[in-house]
Symmetry: D2
Subunit: 368 residues, 4 copies
């Protein structure tokens, strides 16, 4: 499926950084849902750069156009094609990158795979810009889930070691909304300020930093997902590793569980208001790949932006000799904060697909 | 695809812990390959328990029977069905687990999903025993890859915080063979001894421990994999999270990259004996989801065995009240060391599939 | 997916004519359904040969064994592996076929595809015998559908030009049962006798004949299926062409519609007992790939058995020269009558999958 | 996959008749291929209406725009999004169709499936107009195949019983080009004239006619395709039934084989210029789902255009009463002649995908 994922809701992503446009094709959205386009624009703005010193100065207005799948503002049951124009491409910035692959970018691996025929200007199809259509589709999925009282939220958990608070056992939708409204998506603004200082310091040093993002989905019914290779973890991980710079994914307490004993790592079940719940949620709401009814919770690790202004060592693909590389042009000292809504989008798309696969009744989301 | 994965090489896993048998159906193995069944048995023994105090006392001889797909000891091009009998099932051990779900097992989530109709004795289809057929199929894949000079190796990287050495930039096949020959799969035997002590201490305390596994695949050509959601990372992560108790997956230096600066995290390219290589491999041989030619390297985090002998808090599904649970019967104080060959098997199956998807010429592996 | 199909209910078929066994892996059957094994055996007997002069003398008892997926006689929600042993293989019969490919068999195309490494004795994985596990899985699906008042029936529509009656606008389950109980699966026994004479005449002439099969599924709710390439027609056709010797598939009046005018071909809608129905069903209950609520109806064309006792022209693959071929051993003068339950099995599996994909509530089929 | 198909080359179709635009997303085209856009336009014009009295008067210029996947006129390896604007939509024409479903259209089945929320103006996503993007993608595939000396051609085989000649055993590319250049795509112009008269007579009678299309693919290597459910027949049939109005698909002599004896139906192999060939090709170049090296040949049956000007019987979905319907507006008295290039497009896309799945070396099609 390459640039696509999903079973009953299939998302296919297309476009290159310096082509005519980018977009996503979403096949399987329930019909009759009125899309709140204002809310969608606000959601998409969260991943956009150009708002402050922390981001690239590329200021492209990411306006999603519905080419198909929407009639009179409502989903019409047919494949929904979202398109975003590329209006601010300066390909000259990247011209010198063709011969000398940028370290830790896909330049070299793509060069080999496509025998030099891929259009890798600006990162081509691998550019972080391709996450915009994922956000457009995911933003719609988030709205649909919210109608079912399923809420998706994420925040920047750490930047270069500076930690935010973790989500509580059962974060509420108000907290998600609050984080979404901030310029810098953290729970603790103190932590946020320290993170921003770390980012600016890296920028000052012509360097970059990475970060971690924690995401939670609340209101998820128990019993969703399929065993073994189509569990919630499998589906989410497959999609999350498709987001540029993601190098690690863990569910619940993840790798930290590997250092615990079973008595500390197990989540005791308990009755809560007449329903089966758990005292703790170290497994991230998923056991055997299937939801337990506790919030689905996971963390992704984002590597530092590979594009840095410092001189770097590389090779020349034409002369097959060692070479030096200086990357000019626009790039973010940190992309982790911009990736927060992208992670939410992925989570929303996967969870909506899983609901559709499970025969969950979504007819209420249609509007007469 | 649920209990199945793969594109040109499809692996479907079946069976329950207490049913008649377990197995795997592998559709897509190249034809004409002579399977070394002795080597396959030795590989499968690596994941079996019952060999020492570290493992469960369940001593089932995992003998894979080829129901189809093999003629005169060679793959015949058709779907290969491997079956392993269940000969040592004592279902009474698990009888009391039906009403009171075991914490951090799939008992409860499966109960909800299948409305109480799933056969969860011994963990049912979620049992770690289901990794045996994965090893059988993966062991064959390993043999095929070895003929192409692609080698897969793994070791236990840590147990409850005790660390083994990491793989070097380019581990060789001899090291993999050496680890595979050890009773305890580590690079440093000193570390191995400390890990074993940690496991025995946990056992003593009626508790369990988890661990991390590092895996590497060497000899992988550059340019393999598909962009976005079908990259090497996506494919591997989807499969690895299908292994019971895996809660985290990271590629290269993974989460540690999130704390680094770009100047430290980037892998400079360099010429090595006339070929493009890299000075470091913090990205685990994968950029943009596509192989770089450096070894593919990843780490998985395994949670502690959820079955512990200590009394635990849970609920009764029949009375919907809080309840206590004591798990008797056979269970490992640590499963991480037994998971090492399973992780190798997954890596081998995914890499072989990717080679087949890429049109890589595998005709040499057939024998006249 | 090769030897597999289905979306939420996946059927994978394995085995070769002369291997240890054959079988099917069915992943996705609803849990808790009590399988009527007697009825299943009777269904499977319908496709078996050896009962009279019309069929091969190979008398293998096709006893399906449930390796997994069934507990205490009920589906347990996990992948259901059905296995049938090969007990009556006489490979010497087919020995001379390896070098000289049999005309209109897969011998030559398989030889090229697998570079001579496929085990083609008895047709290998292409043997009609592989339809036995399809019947086993499909027989279970038929039972499940019947609990939902969806009934699947088929009959031999023609043999070498001799025609049976067609199904009426709304055939009832009693007719299906009546046909299923006959030694020769037709509506009109007069037509059946004439067909049998045609078959015996062909046999007498060391020749073979083909036939057509009409199949109907009644009680299908309107609105099932997905547009374009995942409609009912697409899904059924993909599976039906997987049955050996099927060379044509048409829905409703099929090719005959191509010769009609629109005014004669269109099915006028009408109200029937307060519900939307149609006066005619020339479109076979499917419009735009989606069910209309009228019976799903289709016809498949089966070519004559390629194995005939007459001397035939072929080539020698070793000497690359023209050669003559005489096929000895067991073969049916007509396989169309034996294919009738196989077509029903395919229809049942596809329709059950479509119900599952549509979120149709199947919880009633579970038994407490 | 719904509105999508393909394994290593995935085609997803989007758009509605009366939306902003329609298009196709093609993921998997080999990189570096220079698209001949003039030839592509000429190919697409073949399926367009408005050229004479035989077709609808809707004259929309189907100009494909490459939103992504093409750089400097060459495929760049990334998903190729083709878009075609809808410029000539007169939705008022169809307004009265919402309540009273048109017989033999998808109006009613879609109404039930999407609970009235689908945008069915002009047939919505089911409109024949959606075959334009299939032609755009398929036209590119045809060009790529031609570079590999694989040629795809089709012609109108019959209209309301008037027959064209059939393709010879090995039709050459020149014949395909000749047919493609005709206003009416037949081999025999005499037959073509008679067909056109039949179409005009139907139009005169406010009625419509259907037809059959024969398609052949020459130069196909032997050994392509996968067994059982992923053979060439399965793949083609699944896609062909996605073309509106296709109700039957047969390979080689198809249903006619059902009336033959084996001795007449079998294709004897023979040596031809040192290569294995066959004396006849009644099986359409496919045995066991796998190519034999003979031309792949199949026939599809197209039903008469369901939209006719005559008054028809239907029901009112709002009042649930019988009702009458008069369809005004633009519609073709026959669509079969316009479907000819669409069938070629489907065949080209499927065959190119199968080549990619088989690891066939396509690197020659890239241009430096």
């Amino acid at each position: 499926m390459a640039s696509a994922f999903g079973e009953r809701l299939k998302i296919s992503v297309f476009g290159e950084s310096h082509g005519a446009g980018i977009g996503a094709l979403a096949d399987g959205f329930p019909a009759g849902f009125p899309i709140d386009t204002d809310a969608l624009m606000r959601f998409m703005e969260r991943r956009q750069g150009g708002r402050n010193a922390l981001s690239t100065s590329r200021k492209e207005p990411d306006v999603p156009v519905f080419v198909s799948g929407v009639t009179d503002g409502k989903t019409n049951g047919f494949p929904l094609c979202i398109q975003i124009a590329n209006t601010n491409t300066k390909s000259s910035d990247y011209k010198n990158l063709v011969d000398i692959p940028r370290p830790s970018h896909a330049d070299y691996s793509a060069y080999v795979k496509w025998h030099g025929n891929a259009d890798m200007r600006g990162g081509g199809h691998f550019s972080g810009r391709l996450t915009a259509p994922i956000c457009a589709a995911g933003g719609i999925a988030k709205q649909m889930l919210a109608k079912c009282n399923i809420h998706v939220g994420a925040h920047l958990l750490s930047v270069e070691g500076v930690q935010d608070e973790r989500f509580s056992l059962s974060p509420d939708a108000a907290l998600f909304a609050q984080i979404a409204g901030k310029m810098f998506p953290v729970i603790s603004d103190d932590a946020g300020r320290a993170m921003q200082q770390a980012i600016l310091a890296a920028r000052e040093a012509q360097d970059s930093v990475g970060g971690r993002i924690e995401c939670a989905v609340t209101g998820v019914p128990a019993g969703l997902g399929d065993p073994m290779f189509d569990g919630i973890e499998n589906r989410l991980a497959r999609v999350l590793f498709g987001i540029p710079a993601v190098k690690g994914v863990e569910f619940g307490d993840g790798f930290a569980l590997s250092d615990m004993r079973g008595s500390a790592a197990n989540d005791p079940f308990c009755m809560d208001a007449g329903k089966v719940a758990a005292e703790t949620n170290r497994n991230g709401g998923i056991l055997g790949g299937i939801t337990t009814g506790m919030p689905v919770r996971f963390t992704v690790g984002i590597k530092p932006t590979p594009s840095i202004s410092q001189k770097q060592r590389s090779v020349s693909l034409s002369s097959l000799q060692n070479a030096e590389l200086e990357i000019h042009g626009r790039h973010d000292p940190c992309i982790a904060q911009r990736a927060v809504p992208v992670i939410e989008a992925c989570a929303a798309l996967v969870m909506l697909d899983v609901l559709l696969c499970s025969g969950y009744d979504l007819s209420d989301i249609a509007e007469d």
